[in-house]
Symmetry: D2
Subunit: 347 residues, 4 copies
């Protein structure tokens, strides 16, 4: 069995060595996230055809008839799998991850099951006791640009939520540098395309309810707020998500008070310096205008801009919620876990 | 039996006795606002066919050939006109309003020309010296629910901007009641449909630039910010507008810190009490969910909801930018100026 | 019991007499059609608050708790009801209509249950034996402009399908006048907004499946084809519906071969003559361009244009599928059944 | 000078030989087509950075300041260019193509300038005399799947129009096989996304005119009709384009009468046989449902389905108008001209 962190015997254009393809698995293939993970796996030069599994009817033996129907999840179906992508509903990933780790697989969990480090907070936030709390200590929160050193050895990566990704990429370096006044809340006014709500037909996502419409939701508190607070290390946050009549993309508008002496200009310089050379994060110059969803849709990029009004700083941050906010970041994490170039399959 | 052409003895619901039809004029009929004013005039039971004028080519004598082509603006064309609606670009309304008042007309200006009381602030904001500063003292800022006592005698009404209307309706009563902590800025994160940007074809409003897209604009400062500050009586405001891929509607999400002892619940009670019985403003109960654009599109209504996170209050406010944010409020103001029922032609 | 066709003791502007309001009922209030019927009833000056009924759980006694929750359908709840609008799924209306007629109500059925005169054809088309065939002889097919003489005495009106309405309004007068060559099929390429498919959440109507997308469906044959053939009196029809990423509206493009000597110009003249003075049908002049959905959305109008290519005539016809294609035409029919002005509540 | 048809000294994955990159040029880079050509060139493994030229201000010497601003078109700027893509407005390509051929470049013209073989027909259709009629004889009409044998030696390729591409791919093999009854017209009811109309802001393409709307245009005759007739070899065609509220994609619904003995099933079998193994054309099986825009957007694919009603055959055909209908097919043609694998850069 290959030990964790060992560089796989795989080659892709630009790297040396033999060309065997790595096998990965996807558990949960019917949602938008699972479909996007599959699409990116297909486009990845170092990966073979993925093993497709379903956590539903885990006791059924008969595989589906359709050519790419997923097989029921059985531990033995994980043999030879380097990384498992969990694209299951919240709550389902906890026992699956334990099983997968036991079988020697490494795990990138795209659900929320391992994002919160404190099991009590998890229980309050997601309404159920955590069933694999012993794993929480080793979880790597996979905001790739900030988790990079820990990824090569990570066994279990909690892929960040879509909203947190869009907020944390600009916010985290500013908080870490002590530039954000924490006496007032950070306000994150976030707008997401409909794909963020999943593809299960519901009154809230039928065309007639979304098209030509717009509204806020979860205004009293959303599950991504504790995740943002935990990772940004901030005490106060007001986070309001909204539903856009578009399919893909998140634009977050973040309002914060700089500490004495800080400014939008200084923060921009700090972020540009921090993300210099990053393949996927771009901090726009003042004159470049504003990030838009169209700039980042179907890419793994995050575009950020900063401005100032009445002494407060306004940050806008755009990502594709299904790519950098989910499947793309999951493969970016996998690339670093397995020793691929970070942008393999993502450009 | 009434003979054809005779002035009709017409009454409208809620008014007494017969009332012959009132003549109004519209200057500027090609933009979305002018078109919406015309649509609402046509639906108003107390108004006759409007006189359509254009401020372009004011020296040309020949009227257009099309059946409803506007005539060039000449002072004598205002004879018998009770109210003139100015739907002209910024800067044009200043000399027109002076002329109209001299001819005995009353004026509802839908441009920004008379919204700011301080001519210096106007000059800084709109980039040109005010050419009718002597009129600024008598201007009534026509946020109808707050201007009601002054409207019957008003000669010159500055119809509020669309963003300010959506922000001020919930904000103003809270500030007036001393419930808003002014040591931190009020944040107004506002999202508007494309009609707010006018109908002149431009790279920014072609379908390919807006559809399936979303972005912020004027992040460093927008002309509606001084107007909101002036009317709300607040010192600090961070106001960021965004462009939605919808045609009609504004949703504003407003973040503020309540003073010690105040809360979202108390503010909701205050607003529900304040707007009790109002035909067009509705403050939703906590359990009624969130206002959406679909609830207010093509109506003169404003729907408001309040929630709380980490001690801060979040207010959402939805209007139709072309109706309550422009033409509908203009007719609502006219109704009060002329003694019509306030909701005549608006339900 | 009031005999069928008796003029109700009701008055609306423009009619004489007392002003008591007529009571109507709506069975099926949760679909888009039922909601649109309710909206139009509320706007109708001669109707009181409608009685809202549901055919689901017809045996349950307890009414719903919500203020406007429908009551279970019981025959005695029809007392005093002049007209019942059936907005139920196909198959449900047959027994309901029989009961309603027995209670002395008149019926406008917005489902497909009484549109086909031949019960065998109905069974083949809708997959179930007709359960009220004895009523088929007296059904009036309610394409209002063509059913007008029969409506005052009609007890049971089959409200036309949305696609048939858009196709038949221009086609029927041309076929009746012998202008259409029936040796080749009439081709009807029809495009509908999503509301035509109902509001039950399904994979086919979630935002992600419709937005930015377009496709044909039922290409091998759609249930509206026999209805169009029956009413137009044509032998051959190729009818292909498509799903537009809009909420409301149908545009039908109809291709036909004129008989020797006929032309688009002559057909246009015939239609303009035929529909002269009609409040809701407008045949555009050659130079007026093409009907668009925006011209007819939220109205009871049908706009038609004609052109010619290579000896064939192209007709475009636009309606709002929920208004002229459903609820609006239902009220237009009711107006004529009850002696209201035909456009009451529809302008 | 390199002779036409010589295989360039270039290699891409899957081919042998050295790996120098080929230089191409794009004239006209501001429209959607020019931008899409650039995007595809960037993704092509065998092409270097393209030379960007503009036909505007051809006499100006100063290049633009922006990093990728196009240079003014000068013949000497074509040195070393293997293929020039002309993405200019109609009429501009004629003199440019002559110059380019004289300089030894090969040309793929994405405008309509060389699509019609008869200069008289061109003049009637495009309203101007052809200025390079001597080139018409050698033009290869680049519907790739049908032009393949002539492309390796082609000097001047007329890239097909977007509508013709969608119609001809299914229609041409059926006509060639004698399966289409030409006594009645073929009807092509085509629906296109807005990008087909270009990105110059105009009243017809602003968001407010397109969103939530739909209409036909050019109903009396469109410039693509003679092109379809010429290439399909049919005498009678009724072609009506419509404007969809989407950005990318064309769905064409084609109605035709099969000759005695032919059927939709037989035609499907013929097309499946004809296009067997093609990388970009897929003829769906009967049970696979209907092509949708979402299936082909951002791809070079054409999806086709067939059905039958009342003895007539209905064909639906979907492409991305900017890819298979323009830039993608242009690169597909270039691949065959230069000896690249046909799908290089297109998957």
């Amino acid at each position: 069995m290959r030990s964790v962190g060992e560089t796989p015997a795989v080659s892709i254009p630009g790297s040396d060595g033999p060309t065997s393809l790595t096998t990965v698995a996807v558990v949960g293939t019917t949602g938008y996230t699972g479909q996007e993970v599959r699409r990116l796996i297909d486009a990845h030069p170092g990966l073979g055809a993925p093993r497709l599994l379903t956590a539903r009817h885990a006791t059924a033996d008969a595989p589906g008839d359709a050519p790419d129907a997923p097989e029921p999840f059985h531990p033995e179906r994980l043999d030879g799998v380097a990384v498992v992508f969990l694209c299951t509903p919240h709550g389902v990933a906890q026992p699956l991850a334990r099983t997968e780790l036991e079988r020697g697989c490494r795990v990138v969990d795209l659900s929320a099951d391992f994002r919160l480090r404190d099991p009590e907070l998890h229980a309050r936030t997601y309404g159920a006791k955590h069933t694999a709390p012993e794993l929480l200590d080793e979880v790597v929160y996979g905001l790739t640009e900030h988790a990079r050193p820990r990824l090569p050895d990570a066994r279990l990566v909690a892929n960040p939520g879509c909203y947190p990704t869009s907020v944390l990429l600009p916010l985290l370096p500013l908080v870490s540098a002590g530039l954000v006044d924490q006496d007032v809340p950070v306000v994150a006014d976030c707008k997401s395309g409909v794909s963020g709500a999943g593809n299960t037909p519901a009154p809230s996502n039928v065309f007639g309810a979304v098209h030509d419409n717009f509204r806020a939701y979860a205004v009293g508190g959303h599950r991504h707020a504790p995740e943002i607070k935990q990772e940004a290390g901030i005490r106060k946050l007001v986070f309001v998500p909204h539903l856009l009549p578009v399919f893909r993309g998140i634009l977050s508008t973040i309002y914060l008070r700089p500490v004495q002496g800080a400014s939008a200009e200084g923060m921009r310089a700090h972020l540009q310096d921090y993300y210099e050379g990053e393949p996927f994060v771009r901090v726009l110059d003042g004159e470049e205008g504003q990030p838009s969803l169209a700039d980042v849709q179907r890419t793994n990029r995050c575009h950020v801009a900063l401005a100032e009004q009445d002494g407060h700083v306004v940050i806008t941050s755009a990502i594709d919620n299904l790519v950098k906010g989910a499947a793309g970041q999951a493969l970016q994490n996998m690339n670093l876990m397995l020793g691929f170039p970070e942008d393999a399959g993502l450009t």
